[in-house]
């Protein structure tokens, strides 16, 4: 788990201490490459599992990995930036519907994907411009509202989306093995993006906004632009995840991208560890994996998710990743004393 651990710590350490001066820079490069390597190894391991477990588990794992991509995008604005966006499910849906409709019109996969990501990003730009003036619970409510609007559009613009029945998605990836590899690569890239941004000026600015937005503004951080950039990036990554879920499922319908989904994605991030690189993976594993693996009916699954969310927020407010940290600290102390 040493790769996973360094990947998890990379962003926090880099962003929070702002290793900007030369003294630390050389060391920082080593740590960054360690984080990228760790993420790549995790991606490779999950990709291997996808191809070697039975269809039931492979299906659940693919869903977890696609959710990891979407929540990893969310991690930029909500994790690094501390803005509780509840609209990630809508960008996910925009990506799924846009790519499916583009493919149905004979576009190649790359063009459909580019269009899906661009449209999700444009939606993110719109929502960002409107709601980045609000903070905290008002931002959450505003973004939740936009998610509900997108859900209504998907349900009611029947000539485009076929309404609640949903769309049948043209398969554009030759076979399941290729699709599995594509999902693994996209997951690695989305996790790596968080490390990359976290080590850049944008990441430092986002963490500053999260810690104290007014203070950040007064030391010269262009807070409005920072939030907007992160929000658009979040939306683009959400759109990419949507393309993959559409390809994987073969059919899409509005209930996959309901406003409720955006909320659960936020819960997944918070439970896993907001602002932590591996938080989305742990959170998605729990939110998507546990109800499926226990074969719970959807109502019971939601109930369980809700109870665990409350419990995690009370017991380990930093999410599963901070629990991992605590265990590692104990482990190291034990190792040193021997």
């Amino acid at each position: 788990m040493s790769g996973a651990e360094s990947a998890g710590r990379g962003v926090e350490a880099a962003a929070a201490t702002a290793e900007a001066d030369g003294e630390f820079r050389g060391h920082g490069v080593l740590r960054a490459s360690g984080a990228y390597l760790g993420i790549a190894l995790i991606g490779a391991a999950l990709w291997f599992l996808l191809g070697h477990v039975n269809a039931f588990y492979s299906n659940i794992l693919a869903s977890i990995m696609i959710w990891t991509i979407a929540t990893s995008g969310l991690n930029l604005i909500a994790g690094l930036g501390g803005y509780p966006s509840l609209v990630q499910g809508a960008f996910y849906g925009i990506g799924a519907y846009t790519s499916s409709i583009a493919l149905a019109h004979g576009q190649p996969l790359w063009a459909a994907t580019a269009l899906a990501v661009a449209l999700a990003g444009a939606a993110g730009l719109g929502v960002g411009i409107i709601f980045s003036r609000t903070r905290g619970q008002y931002f959450a409510i505003g973004t939740l509202f936009f998610g509900a609007v997108v859900g209504l559009v998907m349900n009611n613009w029947a000539s485009l989306t076929q309404g609640p029945i949903g769309l049948s998605v043209p398969f554009a990836v030759p076979d399941l093995e290729t699709l599995n590899a594509l999902i693994a690569v996209c997951m690695v890239l989305s996790l790596a993006l968080v490390v990359f941004i976290g080590r850049r000026r944008l990441g430092l600015r986002l963490v500053a906004v999260r810690e104290d937005e007014d203070l950040a503004e007064h030391v010269g951080v262009p807070t409005a632009w920072t939030k907007l950039a992160a929000f658009v990036l979040s939306a683009c990554v959400g759109g990419l995840a949507g393309v993959l879920i559409a390809q994987y499922n073969g059919t899409i319908s509005p209930e996959l991208f309901d406003y409720y989904v955006g909320f659960v994605m936020f819960v997944a991030l918070a439970v896993g560890g907001a602002g932590r690189v591996l938080g989305p993976l742990l959170g998605s594993t729990f939110i998507v994996g546990v109800p499926h693996l226990l074969n719970l009916s959807s109502g019971i699954g939601q109930l369980l998710v809700g109870i665990v969310f409350v419990a995690v927020m009370i017991l380990v407010p930093g999410g599963f990743m901070s629990a991992v940290d605590a265990v590692l600290v104990v482990f190291r102390r034990g190792g040193q004393s021997q």
């Binding site: 001066d21 820079r25 104290d212 030391v219 010269g220």
Partner: protein, 242 residues
């Protein structure tokens, strides 16, 4: 021409005239104090100068350039930095990381690699604020007085022309306030930064400020040297004698 020219600046908050047609000019290199009873608009006035609030009317010029209407991060780039009445730092970060964030946003010369920010090093900033050796400390673990000084260090790291300090001596013992006064003088003398201070501690203010601006009910009451302001009958009536 004065460094700062404030002409007829006003601010209304929900029907309350917090600042009314302020007319002030501040010469370069001066330590300018602002006094006045609670609610007289001192902090709002600082907020207008620093871009925290937008004025409803009037103009603010720094070395001839208009500042009114600019957002706070642009105002900082124009050379006006501020501290806050309540201690505000990125409390979970080391002090040095706070300073670096501020400095990085305003690097005009030098480079991060050499650790110089337009001629100012991290060590120099820390030394000026009397916080040598404290750069590695998490801000939340610094004492109250150190945190107040740290806020000033962060503001100085933005390389301001004009530094606005909102009650910098809050919660300080007389000794600590004396150290703070020395820090402020050094910043003015060594970095040629003009300083405006809002402060309730009259003893602190009278010994430090070159000029004093007295405010009452959002308007200017008197302006002059500390001795002049202390003798002003309006000031005595509204504040000192009250």
């Amino acid at each position: 021409m004065a460094l700062l020219e404030v002409d007829g600046v006003s601010k209304v908050f929900g029907g309350v005239q917090a600042v009314r047609t302020m007319q002030v000019s501040v010469e370069e290199g001066v330590i300018q104090g602002i006094i006045g009873p609670n609610g007289s608009g001192k902090t709002t006035f600082l907020g207008l100068l620093s871009g925290t609030f937008r004025p409803d009317g009037g103009s603010i010029r720094l070395a001839g350039r208009r500042l009114d209407g600019l957002s706070a991060h642009r105002t900082v780039k124009e050379g006006v930095a501020r501290t806050f009445q309540t201690t505000r730092l990125f409390a979970s970060w080391p002090l040095a990381a706070n300073i670096r964030l501020a400095a990085e946003e305003h690097r005009t010369g030098g480079s991060a690699r050499s650790g110089t920010y337009a001629g100012l090093t991290l060590e120099r900033i820390l030394a000026l604020a009397g916080l040598d050796e404290r750069g590695g400390e998490i801000c939340a673990s610094l004492s109250n007085a150190e945190q107040r000084l740290a806020m000033i260090a962060v503001a100085v790291a933005t390389r301001p022309v004009l530094l606005l300090l909102d009650e910098p001596a809050v919660g300080m013992s007389p000794t600590e306030a004396g150290d703070l006064a020395r820090v402020i003088r050094r910043i003015r003398d060594e970095l040629a930064i003009t300083v405006m201070i809002v402060e309730h501690n009259m003893h602190f203010m009278m010994g430090l400020a070159d000029r004093i601006l007295a405010m009452n009910a959002g308007a200017k009451l008197a302006e002059g040297t500390p001795a002049e302001v202390r003798r002003d009958p309006d000031v005595i009536a509204s504040y000192l004698g009250g």
